[in-house]
């Protein structure tokens, strides 16, 4: 048979289908199907599909080691965070406390304006007979009743070191408070519990009686919101030093 291979191929491609062709076709279809399935299978799980068991075990071990290290780090960082939170809370508490003390001290030393309920006491002194001692007594009574901030005539803030003196001319109704001249009528504003402060002035033999005996008058007005805006002069301590 002098058939060449090409001739045979050509004939086979154009030959009429027979049963043997069908069997071969079915087998080849099976082959193509299996091949395509396998290819898509390999594509779908590439990463570790071809890895051997030993390698996988090693991979797993290194992953679990890394995981435990990360967990350790996590606990460590959480502890640090908790410690920092505690210390920051402590610092905030300390800050709030010192702010409170600062406010109290500034009020006490008259270095800040104050606002709050209190009384306004107006002392009228037409004859100029009210002396510094009377005003000092009034201030002491107000302090005893819990006055937290006191000022005289919107000008002189009364603090621990404040002093009172009579004016140069006894008859002219002028007093000296912390080197400031204040003239009648003397207006004393005090912040504190208004009811208590009123009793501090109006008790028998108190300021009211004293001033009326001297020929003046005293009027007391309670108010819910009193503003004290004058400031005491700054006094730097020369000799005393705080012990911490």
């Amino acid at each position: 048979m002098p058939d060449s291979a090409l001739d045979r191929t050509r004939r086979a491609l154009t030959a009429r289908p027979s049963r043997s062709h069908a069997v071969v076709g079915v087998l080849l279809a099976l082959l193509g199907f299996a091949g395509a399935v396998q290819v898509s299978e390999v594509r779908s799980d590439e990463a570790y599909a071809g890895t051997r068991r030993d390698d996988l075990i090693q991979l797993l071990q290194s992953l679990s080691i890394a995981q435990s290290r990360a967990a350790d780090q996590l606990t460590e960082l959480e502890q640090t965070r908790d410690a920092l939170q505690v210390s920051s809370a402590q610092r905030q508490a300390a800050l709030a406390e010192s702010q409170e003390r600062l406010d109290a001290l500034r009020l006490l030393s008259g270095r800040t304006a104050a606002v709050g309920p209190g009384v306004t006491i107006t002392i009228k002194d037409p004859d100029g007979t009210v002396a510094a001692a009377t005003l000092l007594n009034a201030v002491e009574e107000l302090r005893d009743s819990g006055a937290e901030a006191i000022e005289v005539n919107d000008a002189a803030r009364v603090v621990a070191q404040t002093w009172f003196a009579d004016g140069d001319d006894p008859g002219d109704a002028t007093l000296v408070v912390d080197s400031r001249n204040v003239s009648a009528p003397y207006v004393v504003e005090a912040i504190g519990d208004p009811a208590t402060l009123v009793t501090a002035v109006a008790f028998p033999g108190g300021l009211t009686d004293e001033v009326e005996a001297l020929g003046g008058t005293v009027s007391i007005v309670k108010s819910d919101e009193l503003q004290i805006e004058s400031l005491a002069p700054e006094r730097a301590a020369t000799f005393a030093e705080p012990i911490t």
Binding site: R8, T9, A12, S20, H21, V24, V26, L27, G32, S40
Partner: protein, 110 residues
């Protein structure tokens, strides 16, 4: 003609359906495919030599696939599955190469 059509049909079907291979078949499918490829190239060579017999093709196709799967199975049982399947692939690859060489000589006379 039908053979070529069947091959194309199988490929298209496999790509379209994309079925997941059942787990017990997973180690055997790649080897089976290579074995079937070997049988197919052998058949093509026989066809070009003029000695093609469809009975021989069917038997060699099926037995190739079965034996390849058996070898891999045996290797798995003996604990040398990966090495043995590598060996099978190498042998089949060599056979495919020699078959393709014969086909080339037949078709191109070179």
């Amino acid at each position: 003609m039908i053979a070529v059509l069947g091959l194309a049909l199988g490929v298209i079907l496999g790509l379209l359906v994309e079925p997941s291979v059942p787990a017990f078949l997973q180690p055997y499918l790649p080897i089976a495919v290579v074995a079937a490829l070997d049988a197919t190239f052998g058949a093509l060579r026989a066809f070009l030599d003029g000695v093609f017999n469809e009975r021989v093709f069917v038997i060699s196709f099926v037995s190739n696939v079965v034996i390849a799967a058996l070898i891999v199975y045996l290797g798995d049982q003996l604990g040398v599955g990966s090495q043995l399947s590598t060996g099978v692939v190498v042998v089949l690859g060599i056979r495919i190469f020699s078959n393709v060489a014969a086909i080339r000589r037949r078709l191109l006379h070179a």
